[in-house]
Amino acid sequence: MAIKTVLMIEDDRFIGEMYARSLKKAGYDIDWMIDGNDGLIAARNKPYDLILLDVMLPERRGSDILESLRGGEDLIPHSKVLVLTNFEQDEESRATMEKRADGYLIKAELTPSKLLTIIEKLSK
């Protein structure tokens, strides 16, 4: 599945702008939501190819968003989900998110170019 549309849910402005800039340059259509509630609504209203999901978010945490989207019935069967976080969750939360997502990455270990490489791999 070729990835074209991307929803980024990220509350850190610098990080968000950095990823958005690289993704746009690489030709992706990107929507950026800052708080968790808006992110969940956006994810449910539009079928994105890829959702970049932060964990520590205002209003609603990334883990809750993923729970809402994939906890029971998979509401976003057409979307890939990459969890991008700098937060060290406890084992259980992390394991749960890893099971429901297509990737779980630490942002501090991830440059924009590496992110693009990973997204390309997901497209295949």
Partner: protein, 512 residues
Amino acid sequence: MAVTPQQRLAKDFWPYFRQIALTIIVSILVVALGISTVVMYALGLFGTEPVAVILLLATQAVLSGTVAFIIYRVVADPLKEILAAVIQVSGEPTTTTPPNPNDPRFAKTGFKDVLETLYKLASTEPKKQPAADGQIAQDDFIQSALNTTVCGFVLMDKTHQIIFANKAAPVDIDRNGQKRLNLIFNGTDTLESWLAACEQSSVHAEHVWTRIPDKLPEEEGRRFFDVIASYEKGAKSEVVLSLVDRTAYYESGEEELDFIAFAAHELRGPITVIRGYLDVLQSELGDKLQADQVELFRRSAVSANRLSGNINNILNTSRYDRRHLKMHLVETSASAVYDVIRDDMAMRASAQNRLLNVTIPQDLPTIAADPASLSEVFGNLIDNAIKYSNEGGAINVSAIVKGDFVEVTVEDHGIGMPGNVVSNLFKKFYRSHRSRETVAGTGIGLYISKAIVESHGGTISVRSEDGKGSAFIVSIPTYASVADKIKESDNSNVGIIEQGSGWIKNHSMYRG
């Protein structure tokens, strides 16, 4: 000084003495009278002067009786008074009145001084009276002090019933009115099992448990204790438990959102941006940069990457110390794990002018590893090799298969270490004297590397020669050798650690 009542009481001596004394006196009188009678009879005085003889004998009896009585009083009376005084100060039950030293008749003879000395010696007894009060006061004082401290103290008798517990001790009273200790021990290493073992084979023993909660995780007011138990066979308090309340220290490890995770989150945000934009700028500016500017970029990137690695070390160490370090083992290869850090390491080595030669064959058997954690180990070892080798020095990273393990060796030709340093190398915060002076670092890199490798069911070892260089060898089990165990335990390391007995000795960290 108190006269301790012995088995025979002091007051029993007087009747005994008096009886013996009177018996002896009467016997002497009778014998003397008998001798006089016999002498007079032999002289024939009975026939010639019978009246005079009888008068003589009667006079002798009266006189010697009187003398004996006087001697008896002179000798025995002081003894009687002394005994009465001794009986008095010894606290024996008695109806006799103790002699009064102020009696005028005692003053004349000097017996007053004797009695006064005796009473003075015994007056430590009256002095002890306030001391006994003081004892009670001191007991109250200790009790209130024990109840003020946050440390718990519990004393148990021979039957292991609680005979004392201060306020801070996690003790409550059950329906039968018995005091009960609320501690939830891990696994089989419980107080009961330890006490049972002590009963069997110990006279004196001590044991320490750390991080023992008094309640289940979801219960209110849960506390954590480090428990120090002392066992002394036959002592009145056979078991003494000291419970150090470490809730403040341990509970952070129990909370989902703990401080270190938050701190790491805050530190990683800016690092993400710095690393990201350095990468972006380098690739976008590309050929516009002069060689020295490229080098500056590279150094910035290396520093940001190292900072990120340090944060991972801190996070992992904090988890390991709280027994929360878990590995997610997957089938991978040594070279794939190295790929995670390949670019970063190449950059670090060249930025510090070291020659990094990596020869990890692609066709080695696969290993069971958590790529993120194991790559941190390789990163730590290479970082150390860079730190402790000389400008332009070569660092070789190689891998071979050895039985059920793949061995990865990181070798440098740097300053090396003497033997005494090697033995301390994997201790937390250990830094050799030399490295403290010349090389920056925290001393947790090797500590956490060892923990991570052992969490894989592997080993880490070191060969080093002072002045010639060091080689760190990491052995990780091949996937084939542990695949069954990993599948059983849902890709965590629990299976290989707990079932692979002999691989790793300290697996206490998985109990958290």
